[in-house]
Every structure is written in structure tokens, then in C-alpha cells.
């Protein structure tokens, strides 16, 4: 190997190391900040924009939707086994939703204590949900996230939480082990539902007691029921 050749190898190695180190730094340090940058600024939206098609005491419409982790997730698979919280959020990469499910990620204990599972639903397709949820937490989400993309928003529509622009409401439904809807919170889309309200509802449902619904939950709804 000539002297120039050796010099080139050294320089190439140096360049390689520099690129790897820089790329690592960009990835590690930039990821969290970039994630926030990637959130689409939606502004303030009409608090609710749909008409509920179910009410407390109804049998929850069953569904079977493709999950981000592969396979399908159905409401029926938990029948007789677990209470189910269905969390509709408007869309991936939007402000409040991006701060809602990461919170449920650290609240798993409360769901476990109340024999409950959470199913996260949006009207986005699987690739979008995949990239969105992957950046939500350094750990895999403990609950299934499913896609109500095609036929578009069919499940959201069945529950009456599909908005006129094709996104979903920010809505929570608690379905007991018998498949009955016990709690509904069609929340102001611009705000995140307080965790304690959901936990309280879960505790009551798990004790098979009726849930007192906060007046504000329906105050902005198009269809108080």
C-alpha cells in the first residue's frame, strides 16, 4: 500500500467515524425535539362535531380492526374477561393526542387494578400509526393501537364520534365485561380528558356501580343523551 493510500484510508476512517458520531447525535438529541416539531398545529377546533349513536347501558358495537403490531384486535375478544376502555383520538400527529396516549403509558397500574385493557383507535392508516406511536415512547406501548382507516371511520361512525372532516372525536368509552357501555366522555377535542375522571369511572365499573358522569362531559356535545 502506498503512503498516499494509507493517508486516504486514515482520512476515510476519520470521515466514517465523524458521520456515524454526528448521525448518532442527531438521532439521539434531535429525536425528541423533532417529534414536537412534527406535530401539526391544528389550532382551536369546534369542541365536538358529531352525534352520538350509543348511550350508557347500550351494548357496545363490536369491531375488529387491524393493529399496529399486526393481526386484528376486536372488542369481542375481551368479552367476559376484561373491562375495556376505548380511546378514540382525532388523528395522528396532532397536538393533544400526542400527549394523551403517552400518559396512559405510565398509568398502566390503574388499568391493571381495575381489570381493564385500553384500545387506542384513530382513523389513520397503519403506517402512519406505526411511525407516530414509535416516537411516542422509548418503550413499546402496553396497549393495542388499531386503525379505523378503511372503510374510513366505520367504527367511529358506529359509535357516533366521526366528525364531519373525517377525523374522530376525542372520546372515551368504558365497556364492561358484559359488553355494555358504562361511561362515555366525548371530550372537548382541544383538551385532554383528566386521567382521574377515567380512573374513577373504571373503579366504579369494576365494582359494578353506576358511574356519575361529570356535567361538562356532554356540555359541548352536539347530542346530549
Amino acid at each position: 500500500m502506498s503512503r498516499i493510500g494509507k493517508l486516504q484510508w486514515v482520512l476515510l476512517c476519520f470521515l466514517g467515524i465523524a458521520i456515524v458520531m454526528t448521525a448518532t447525535a442527531v438521532t439521539v438529541h434531535g429525536q425528541a425535539v423533532d417529534f414536537q416539531k412534527n406535530i401539526f398545529p391544528v389550532g382551536t377546533l369546534k369542541p365536538t362535531d358529531s352525534i352520538l349513536r350509543v348511550k350508557i347501558g347500550d351494548r357496545a358495537p363490536n369491531f375488529s380492526l387491524p393493529g399496529v403490531e399486526g393481526g386484528r384486535v376486536s372488542l369481542g375478544q375481551y368479552l367476559g374477561k376484561r373491562n375495556v376502555v376505548i380511546s378514540f383520538v382525532p388523528a395522528a400527529w396532532t397536538p393533544v393526542c400526542s400527549d394523551q396516549w403517552p400518559g396512559y403509558q405510565i398509568a398502566k397500574d390503574f388499568f391493571d387494578k381495575n381489570n381493564a385493557i385500553l384500545i387506542g383507535i384513530t382513523v389513520d392508516n397503519i403506517p402512519t400509526l406505526y411511525s407516530w406511536t414509535r416516537q411516542m415512547s422509548s418503550e413499546k406501548l402496553w396497549f393495542p393501537v388499531v386503525s379505523d382507516f378503511y372503510p374510513h371511520g366505520a367504527v367511529a361512525s358506529a359509535y357516533g364520534v366521526l366528525r364531519s372532516d373525517g377525523t374522530a372525536e376525542r372520546a372515551l368509552f368504558v365497556v364492561d365485561k358484559k359488553g355494555i357501555i358504562r361511561y362515555i366522555d366525548v371530550h372537548n377535542i382541544n383538551e385532554r380528558p383528566p386521567l382521574e375522571d377515567l380512573i374513577h369511572a373504571l373503579e366504579e365499573v369494576n365494582k359494578d356501580r353506576s358511574v356519575e358522569v361529570h356535567p361538562y362531559i356532554y356540555s359541548n356535545s352536539s347530542c346530549p343523551r
Binding site: 498516499i4 486516504q8 454526528t22 447525535a25 438529541h29 425528541a32 414536537q36 403517552p102 405510565i106 386521567l195
Partner: protein, 207 residues
């Protein structure tokens, strides 16, 4: 192109890359905005006063220098420098940042020259007390946290992202000034603390 020149070009390209992006140390490289977009020392100026509830925990009351109950003025915290982390209890970046902020707290508490001079508090933006307590428990946060469900402090401090870190200098005459403002998390606790010490001027005063 001759082989020697290729090497020189590669060397120049790598040097440029490291210069612009700071290589593995983006905190020292404000030019590389795509890698690091925080503003470590911007937005200096007058710090608005606000009140917080006195913590229930004896240890936290002692840490802040209070013995009573009821709300307290943030300017009454016994410290020369106050670091405020504005976080969201449900914000994944804040979850990620938590161990590094704890590292800063432990570094301060481990240094006799800083222990009673520099304090940290966290304010949970748009978070209920229940959610803040959950955040504290799950992320093992070591310093006092407060909830700002109604966005009062968020608006006062002009916060538009979480986590945001604010450094406030409390002068002997009771006046306060903001000397540090940073949007976004950090992963180098010692560098963050060095920056706080340097920009606050607390080290020079101690001498």
C-alpha cells in the same frame, strides 16, 4: 481527481460536518438547528411572580425553605438560583428528560457550594394534581412538583413547548431575573448544570 486530493476533500468535508453540527456534542453547536433547536440562554429579562401551594411533604417544605401552609410566592424560595422545569405529566419528552433532570438535582445536592444556593421545582403544564403525582411517582422525580392545570403559569412564562427549562436568579434585594430559557430536553446533565452556573454568575459571587 488525484488520490491525494480525494483525501483532502474528504477531510475537509468531515471537518465541515463536525464544525456545523458539532459532531457528538450538539449542545455546543447552535448552528445545527435540525439537531438541536433549544435556546439555552435566550429570552432573558424580568421574571413574573406567581404563587404555588406549599408542598404537603416535610422534606419538600424544608427543601424550599418553608414551614407554614397555604400558597407561597415563588420569590420566597430560599435560593440564589431557581431552576424551573415546565413539563407535561403526559408528555413523552418530559418522561424521557426526567432521569437527566434528576441527575442535575443530585449533582446540586452533592455539592456543598451549590446545595443551598440552587433549587429545582417542576410545574406541570395543563396537568392535574393527580397526573402530576403520577408523573412524580412513575418517573421517580426527586424535587417538588406543582400542577398548573389552568395554564396560569404557562401563560405568565410564555411556554409553548414541554419540557422548557427556565433559570431565575433571585437577587438579595428580592428582585428576580430570568437568565436562562431552554425549549426541549437535554441529555447531558453536567453540561446543563455548568451552563446554569456560568450564566447565573453564582460561581463568581461565591468566590
Amino acid at each position: 481527481m488525484p488520490k491525494g486530493k480525494i483525501g483532502v476533500v474528504l477531510f475537509a468535508a468531515s471537518a465541515f460536518l463536525i464544525f456545523v453540527c458539532g459532531g457528538p456534542f450538539p449542545e455546543s453547536a447552535p448552528l445545527c438547528s435540525f439537531a438541536y433547536s433549544s435556546e439555552p440562554s435566550g429570552n432573558n429579562g424580568i421574571f413574573p411572580a406567581f404563587t404555588l401551594p406549599v408542598p404537603k411533604s416535610d422534606a419538600e417544605r424544608a427543601y424550599l425553605g418553608f414551614s407554614g401552609t397555604g400558597p407561597f410566592d415563588v420569590r420566597q424560595i430560599k435560593a440564589q438560583v431557581l431552576i424551573i422545569e415546565v413539563f407535561g405529566a403526559f408528555c413523552s419528552h418530559c418522561h424521557h428528560a426526567a432521569p437527566y433532570v434528576n441527575e442535575v438535582y443530585e449533582a446540586i445536592e452533592g455539592r456543598l457550594d451549590l446545595k443551598d444556593q440552587v433549587k429545582i421545582i417542576g410545574v406541570g403544564m395543563r396537568s392535574t394534581p393527580f397526573e402530576v403525582d403520577l408523573f412524580k411517582e412513575k418517573l421517580h422525580v426527586l424535587f417538588p412538583l406543582f400542577a398548573d392545570k389552568d395554564m396560569v403559569i404557562e401563560k405568565l412564562l410564555s411556554i409553548d413547548a414541554t419540557p422548557t427549562f427556565i433559570g431565575v436568579k433571585i437577587n438579595k434585594d428580592g428582585s428576580q431575573e430570568r437568565f436562562y430559557f431552554r425549549r426541549g430536553p437535554f441529555e447531558n446533565a453536567s453540561q446543563f448544570l455548568s451552563e446554569i452556573i456560568r450564566l447565573s454568575g453564582i460561581a463568581q459571587e461565591a468566590k
